[in-house]
Subunit: 315 residues, 2 copies
Amino acid sequence: VAENHLSNDQRMILVDWGTTCLRAFLLDGRVIAARLTGPGIGMLAEPPAAVLRTALASWLEASPGIQVVVCGMAGSRNGIREVPYVATPAGAADWQDGAQSLRLWGSTVTIAAGLQGRNTAGAPDLMRGEETQIFGAISRHPQLAAGRHLLVLPGTHSKWTEIRDGAVGRFHTALTGELRALLLQHSLLLRAGAAEGEAGDGFDAGLARAVETRAGLLGSLFEVRSAQIVSGRSRRWSEAFLSGLLIGEESLRMSAAFDASGEVVLIGTAQLCALYALALSRQALGAWTLDGDDCALAGLALLAGSERQVTQYAH
Amino acid sequence: VAENHLSNDQRMILVDWGTTCLRAFLLDGRVIAARLTGPGIGMLAEPPAAVLRTALASWLEASPGIQVVVCGMAGSRNGIREVPYVATPAGAADWQDGAQSLRLWGSTVTIAAGLQGRNTAGAPDLMRGEETQIFGAISRHPQLAAGRHLLVLPGTHSKWTEIRDGAVGRFHTALTGELRALLLQHSLLLRAGAAEGEAGDGFDAGLARAVETRAGLLGSLFEVRSAQIVSGRSRRWSEAFLSGLLIGEESLRMSAAFDASGEVVLIGTAQLCALYALALSRQALGAWTLDGDDCALAGLALLAGSERQVTQYAH
């Protein structure tokens, strides 16, 4: 399967469907015509295929038979169709070969494969969705196709990924975003501070703390609460401090685990990548930031239009 | 205020009231006559004093005017009466001086103070309830009243505490138990494994992992999920593995932060202390385990019967 480029007359729908969010893009040539957000695959009342059809309804009706490409948890056991993980090391062609297509609503729906590999400690690790951004980044930026690069995709489950000559090698998941959300929603850590007051230097203080402490993350988290009770910190400051502790710990430990040096490639939203760039700078690492949606679209486009066995959908 | 010893004719009620559980003991001399469990102070529908009275009703009616001593979150802002923290370094006499008594239901109800100090990284830290077990342990075991000892009280918020010549110095809170509960209840980490299957060597595997990995706790937690998906581990094995990761990380980092050597004193339930003893043995540390309830009772008894200003209760 060769690399695919969009011709200007290709209309298609590209979908990044993760655990918490569905984002869909209507393309006509290289122009994004529209965008939606919908429910994540972790919280569906209906079968995933029905939810996807509802989310895309107006576009499907306007362009009968339009091709659809989906990455993320749509290919998981609880998704539209379980697509097996592709083993690393994996280049773009290996990954493209692992995608599966099915006929749905008169369209060809192609579902991306995830990757399965080993983390820096030699344990199994998995990704579904981030590989699409990674191969998209490589296809958009030819300098990533040669040599060794360390890519960081921050999020609910941050993925630190080593690529060598355009192929994904070791990668390692950090639970940073999920842990932050759990603590914000369910812990008493953030319930002692005043609702008034700004974030101020909370994030920087958390980053500094993550590096200074010898007691590890479990030994610094309670400082979020004592900062409110003893030092009178506001809730916003404390939330920013928590983010700094978590992102600081992730950056410190993961960059060490990968023996990182020089520059890291960050892929994600500008806001989150800026926080990671700050954290990485404390490990004397530079950061080159790529937009996550751009990379996802470039990766999904690699799966469009290729010859691939098409099967009927059976729920 | 001198150390108090129970005489054989002293009837009293001793209560350890934490965030998640109320435990009450009826004493006649040194004999425990009964025991109750009730709601933690974090989940009350009624005012705390009313809840306590309900929990103790039959004992209060049987012995009008019986004295009551309470430690834990009963002395917090949302408790029966906010009792200020006593600053460390603090010996038993300092702590006894910080307790407050009030008249309730014809009885004298004494509420223990918590402690406020600095952790190993110099940040503020707090405890309410564990100090009672610590001073109880020291009063029961005279060898703890001289020299330096490291006490570990594992739980929702584990407290690692240095004592020197019987006074509490630095102490450091680790969020281990709370994080474990949050992940078990709310995370997808544990939702991929089969309900059948035993814990097996899961805990040991987690302990080993915590020491081996260079990626830190955030970088090892996702292994709980991939072990189920890739390696077919059961839910019980994975839960034990998670406990091993967390207790292993806590033991590794906190023992380093305190420059621990030789023997550590564990205070808590036999089951939980056994897990910590295993983890500590991997850092070449011995463990001497004391029963948490015994220590709490000994500590509460230090607050019984002493001369202390008594005030009326106003809710």
